[in-house]
């Protein structure tokens, strides 16, 4: 890692890490009477550890100019491993909180083991830890291949990757201590938010600088999706997190918005986090890795452009469907509903485009679990976007909102779409990224596939059942007009589904652990021996064609 840096970059790295350590020290001193101080110590430790690592490696010989004839993949390699580690953490905590809902006594009266503190560790862990690292790692890979240009330097990709993970650690440790600004998916407090803005600006700059040096005249559509993800997430993050801290020595801050404006800003952010973090970025992944793995160009490039602009124009206006039947003006709710329904067009254009690309390569989907992960992701993407458009309709929402149906919908998207496309893409690049001939065990990929699929199906069906039952119980009236069921009645009815949900989540977690094991074993496999030149043996250059090919 440090041997990759030029001398000037090592100096820059030490300056940046030294400054980070000083900021941590200032936070630790200024926030000594506050939880901010603990985060100060964490930042100081991160800065110091990095500084010492660079110091120790600063005398290594400089990388030669031959590095410029290779893509810079070291950050992608580390990013892939971080992706899997966060998957295990995020999904592990997810399984635990699912079990807590079925057996609520398991908090053991420890504050940081309570549901309210652990749940954001799960959501941030999977969305930002697992999803975010996967997006950063794959975006660096796709960007270089589709532009035929190396990343602009060796230090900014590390700044983005490691800085982003520092944000994730600050976020998760803050939740456990009880630090939150109480905005869903935007829980981290003001100092973590400012740090993420810095990291994100550098991320976008890497994209711009690499594109500026590209060889390909046309910017491949996957990059559009990745850039929409980076740019829009920056806008959403900055606006939704506008807040004034109580003091520079306090972790607590107050939002600039209040009342229904606050709610609207939050759900404009929240739904577009789904749109641009969990959709646009992963569509970028799909538009590169799926055609690549299938060995067929995307079915319709024009359709991918139409879907791109459709998604970017329309998602922006859909957020208000989270606020049906609230103080939000009725016309704004209707606007969100209408845009959500129309969104089905670009969403299905992408899902259809992916499946039509596979049309003619179904035998590969049958034989190759990696491509099957991607095919299944496209199917789940189609299912989830249809369900989402449907649930945004006000009358449907009156049944589904505040129930487990929403949770089922989110997980159909997160497990079925986001995680499947991520695992498929990850398996497809791990061998080449770590310079191995193949993945350690194709069988374990197969095991992972079936664990992931069965886990997702069990999870989603459990939540659909419990959600609809909840919704119906809450709106059943007696003859005299009172409610037939108390809230606790509906809770008791949920118990078996909560157990089923925890079991589905456990299967999915086991799949992620299988992936981590398989990737670690792939890295530990001996590197392939360099091809014997002119050995005089009559070995076919390519494996014989399989039946059906």
């Amino acid at each position: 890692m440090i041997a990759d840096l030029t001398r000037a970059e090592r100096l820059w790295a030490m300056l940046i890490l030294g400054a980070l350590g000083l900021i941590g020290l200032a936070m630790a001193i200024g926030g000594r009477n506050d939880l901010l101080g603990i985060h100060g110590w964490i930042v100081l430790a991160a800065g110091l550890a990095g500084f010492i690592a660079v110091m120790r490696g600063r005398d290594a010989p400089e990388p030669g100019a031959e590095r410029l004839h290779e893509y810079y993949d070291a950050p992608t390699r580390v990013g892939l491993i971080l992706t899997l580690l966060w998957a295990v953490v995020g999904m592990g905590v997810g399984f635990w909180v699912a079990a807590l809902l079925a057996w609520p006594d398991m908090t053991f009266d420890v504050p940081w083991l309570s549901f309210g503190r652990l749940r954001p560790v799960h959501t941030s862990g999977v969305i930002f830890g697992f999803g975010g690292n996967a997006l950063i790692a794959t975006s660096f890979h796709v960007l270089q291949r589709t532009t035929r240009a190396r990343l602009p330097d060796q230090i900014s990709p590390w700044f983005v990757l490691l800085g982003y993970n520092l944000f994730c650690v600050i976020a998760a440790s803050g939740y456990l201590m009880g630090l939150t600004q109480s905005k869903e998916y935007a829980e981290p407090e003001w100092y973590a938010d400012i740090w993420l803005v810095v990291v994100w600006v550098v991320y976008f700059a890497i994209y711009m600088r690499t594109l500026a040096r590209r060889k390909e005249p046309h910017i491949y559509v996957a990059n559009w999706y990745y850039m929409a993800f980076i740019l829009v997430v920056a806008i959403l993050h900055i606006v939704n997190n506008l807040a004034v801290p109580v003091s520079l020595g306090s972790a607590k801050s107050y939002s600039l918005f209040s009342g229904v404006q606050d709610a609207m800003t939050q759900w404009w952010y929240g739904h577009n986090a789904v749109a641009f973090f969990l959709t646009a970025g992963f569509l970028g992944m799909m538009y590169y890795y799926l055609p690549k793995r299938a060995g067929r160009p995307i079915f319709s490039y024009r359709m991918s452009i139409i879907s791109f602009w459709g998604i970017t124009f329309m998602y922006m206006w859909a957020g208000s469907h989270h606020l049906h039947y609230t103080a939000l003006p009725h016309w704004v709710q209707t606007l969100g509903m209408a845009f959500s329904v129309v969104l089905l067009v670009p969403s299905w254009a992408s899902a259809g485009n992916a499946l039509l690309t596979l049309n003619g390569a179904w035998h590969k989907v049958r034989d190759d679990a990696v491509l099957r992960f991607m095919a299944l992701a496209a199917i789940f993407y189609g299912i989830t976007t249809f369900e989402g458009s449907f649930m945004a309709i006000r009358a449907v929402n009156s049944l589904s909102h505040y129930t487990d149906w929403t949770i089922g919908h989110v997980h159909a998207g997160a497990l079925g779409w986001v995680a499947m496309i991520t695992f498929g893409s990850l398996y497809s690049i791990v061998p080449s990224m770590f310079k191995r001939e193949r993945i350690y065990s194709q069988k374990l990929v197969e095991v992972h596939f079936w664990l992931a699929l069965s886990g997702t199906v069990i999870y989603v069906f459990a939540m659909w059942n419990s959600g609809v039952i909840q919704g119906l119980m809450w709106r059943t009236y007696t003859e005299s007009g009172g409610l037939t069921y108390s809230f606790i009645d509906s809770l008791v009815a949920m118990h078996p589904y909560y157990i089923a949900r925890a079991f589905g989540g456990l299967l999915f977690l086991l799949g992620a652990l299988t992936a981590l094991y398989n990737v670690v074993m792939t890295i530990r496999m001996p590197a392939p021996a360099p091809a014997p030149e002119d050995a005089g043996l009559d070995i076919p250059a390519k494996p014989a064609l399989q039946a059906g090919e």
């Binding site: 004839h69 589709t146 160009p297 995307i298 024009r302 139409i306 602009w309 124009f313």
Partner: protein, 58 residues
């Protein structure tokens, strides 16, 4: 023009409609413009080209 609720709503409901329609028309025309087809067809082949896994310049 006062910067009150009704003005903002009026602006959103009028300008908001027109600029979205205009952007959609521009995107559609550009996508289906006949001379753009060749570039798109070539771009679509990018992920499946079996070329050397190296950047184009040192």
């Amino acid at each position: 023009m006062p910067f009150d609720h009704d003005t903002v709503v009026g602006f959103s409901k009028s300008f908001g409609l027109f600029y979205l329609v205009a952007l959609s028309v521009i995107a559609l025309v550009w996508t289906y413009w006949p001379s753009n087809k060749k570039g798109f067809d070539e771009a679509a082949k990018l992920p499946v080209l079996e070329e050397e896994d190296r950047p184009w310049r040192g």
